[in-house]
Subunit: 386 residues, 2 copies
């Protein structure tokens, strides 16, 4: 186990019929709220009205800042910061998934400084304080609701950058599984794939060979994400399935599994990012294509951890290399079973594009300090995704 | 999964050579520290000097309050509160295991109120603020370093009462596994047993049949506590063994596994408490006697969860009742293998004493609201420990 510092001060309020608590929790942090949300869905199912009433019932003033898109953009964040400053906003409320919460985090950081918020992403300025943030989560996927990370795309420069900071952890996040009853099957599956990817990036890239309790946690999470996603797809209103999926997705990236792993990388996200950037495929759909290819490439060289994965997650027995490969096959089959694509062709991407995709990914490899990846290795991984 | 609120703001600094950070961390919280510790061991291995130097190097004034005993007592807590008040102490530093940290928690709560601290334990007053608390942990066992619970014995009234509150979570806890190299074999094992007991109380007493991710976490913890304790006993300076054991013991009772379980009970602790109270046996030693007996009693009535335990923790296969019983046998064998007793006779307790022990435990059953336990059921469980 590597040395670590763990601090996750977010208060999680989890369960059915907890959304009504957003007003009371937020009113303890400020009087004038900026309500950040996405496009249609929160209005469609009455969630918008519920949150707004809960806030105004506490005597709060609420200013709307809707319209966050997936792969959230800097211009919208900047507009939010301007609105927050002009209206003396003293607390941010995010109602949505990872894109909305990430936008709200960028607004909370940018609203308390004079300089442009993008300087935080470029590493030119450090976040030293933020406006308070409360969240109502609507999608089990990204994990932003209980961590201090955020990813924003600068449309002008075509940069999609992320940064993390202890001041970005939401003060309070409300996780009500019943809100996700209306998430369609494809996005339920993509969310599950995203959460599995977060876990497996850590699991397979830690350089520490002695992370036994973290391994058990991560294996348990993968098993449960598959099981609970299956329940949610079979019956979208299966409370226990939605609840387990929601909590597992949060746990996948809240720092608990990573504590003690030391340095980890995000190579599968790096390659997927190029698919999203070049072909605008959903993040989870891109990940389920990249993951088996990346895993096979790695397992050929270092089968041990992959064998452990096959053995513990899928109960396989046999030689190390057999179990390693069979475990990857079974994960891939599971992706197919939830109708998340596993081949480039399913995303309508031609093998001829592989050099261009690899080249795009390479620029991120440099930013993310994934030194062992070059044009050739990324192409080889992508060839395994044909 | 049941609704829950989770909030654990403790900053954990984990790893080798982290103790030196205690001064810097504490100096951010106050200028005048009360240093709470136990008896000999922290002086013997140079830890006392290291902590004191780290604090004074930051310009802090430090007042000693040593002498905490295991099963920490109210009179010593009261003396600490008086010392804190008279000397305008503004931060508490605990260096020790669960007894020391619990005493420090009681002092931090009592030092900011006019009334007697025991009123918090009797439920007559609520904790609404505390002095800050930093900890250096010296024993992998109780889990107090990352939770808001404390247990203190009132020697005058013979009451051993516990209470919990969000203001009691340590601000910072330093967990350096190398400090535990000097913990003797018996207390290393008792600590592991205590941590396993914390997990299994939750695991077997939750009334919710749908806690799948929590189950995986708890099973993973039990597996790792057994493995890491084995490593630590084989080689007391095995860093990875000590590190894994230390972190697992913290995770066993920091709220993460319990989130979503709903109401749980502590029936094994209830019965063990009588053994400790009447015969002054070490807590872990008493637990390893009570646990198999309690588990067999429960498994006869509700084998399902015990079968899951045998299957997942020990890899057993067979009929539900067979796997349930065999799993308990294997846990009991493991207790024996680490030389923690599993029979009342090993504690020199006669079967004739069972009615008196049960009667003592019964008084706690009322306080802890374990309504399903009466004189007869407790006697029956204890007969299984002969």
């Amino acid at each position: 186990m590597q040395n670590f510092v763990l601090h996750n001060p977010t208060i999680v309020i989890f369960g059915a019929e907890t959304v009504e608590q957003i007003g009371k929790e937020t009113a303890q942090l400020g009087k004038k709220a900026l309500l950040v949300y996405g496009k249609k869905s929160i209005r469609k199912y009455g969630l918008y009205d519920l949150v707004k009433k809960s806030l105004t019932d506490q005597g709060m003033e609420v200013l709307d800042h809707g319209g966050v898109q997936s792969n959230p953009v800097l211009s919208h964040v900047r507009n939010g910061i301007t609105a927050a400053k002009e209206n003396n906003i003293d607390v941010i409320v995010a109602v949505g998934g990872g894109s909305v919460i990430d936008s709200a985090k960028a607004i909370r950081a940018g609203a308390v400084v004079e300089h442009d918020v993008w300087q935080f992403f470029k590493g030119k300025k450090s976040i030293k304080s933020t406006l308070p943030l409360t969240c109502v989560l609507t999608l089990a996927a990204a994990g932003s609701e209980m961590n201090g990370g955020m990813v924003i795309t600068n449309e002008e420069t075509q940069e999609k950058f992320g940064t993390g900071n202890k001041y970005l952890n939401p003060n309070v996040s409300i996780l009500d599984p019943t809100i996700t009853y209306s998430v369609p099957a494809d996005y339920t599956a993509y969310g599950a794939v995203d959460a599995i990817a977060h876990i497996l990036e850590f699991y397979f890239t830690t350089a520490d060979p002695s992370t036994p309790v973290q391994d058990r946690f991560m294996e348990g999470l993968v098993i449960n994400i598959m099981e609970s996603c299956g329940r949610a797809l079979k019956n979208p209103c299966d409370y226990q399935g939605r609840a387990d999926l929601m909590w597992c997705a949060t746990l996948a990236l809240n720092g608990w599994t990573a504590a003690g792993l030391g340095m980890v990388g995000f190579p599968m996200h790096m390659i997927e990012h190029s698919l999203s950037a070049l072909y605008n495929v959903p993040h989870g759909a891109g990940l389920s294509v990249v993951m088996p290819g990346w895993m096979r490439y790695q397992a050929n060289q270092h089968p041990d951890k992959f064998a452990q994965f096959g053995e513990r997650v899928f109960g396989l027995k046999g030689s190390k290399m057999e179990v390693a490969q069979q475990g990857i096959n079974m994960l891939e089959s599971w992706f197919s079973s939830v109708k998340s694509p596993t081949r480039l062709a399913e995303l309508s991407i031609s093998p001829h594009d592989i050099p261009a995709i690899a080249n795009n990914a390479l620029s991120l490899a440099k930013v993310w300090r994934l030194k062992e990846y070059n044009q050739e290795t990324i192409e080889e991984i992508l060839k395994g995704c044909i």
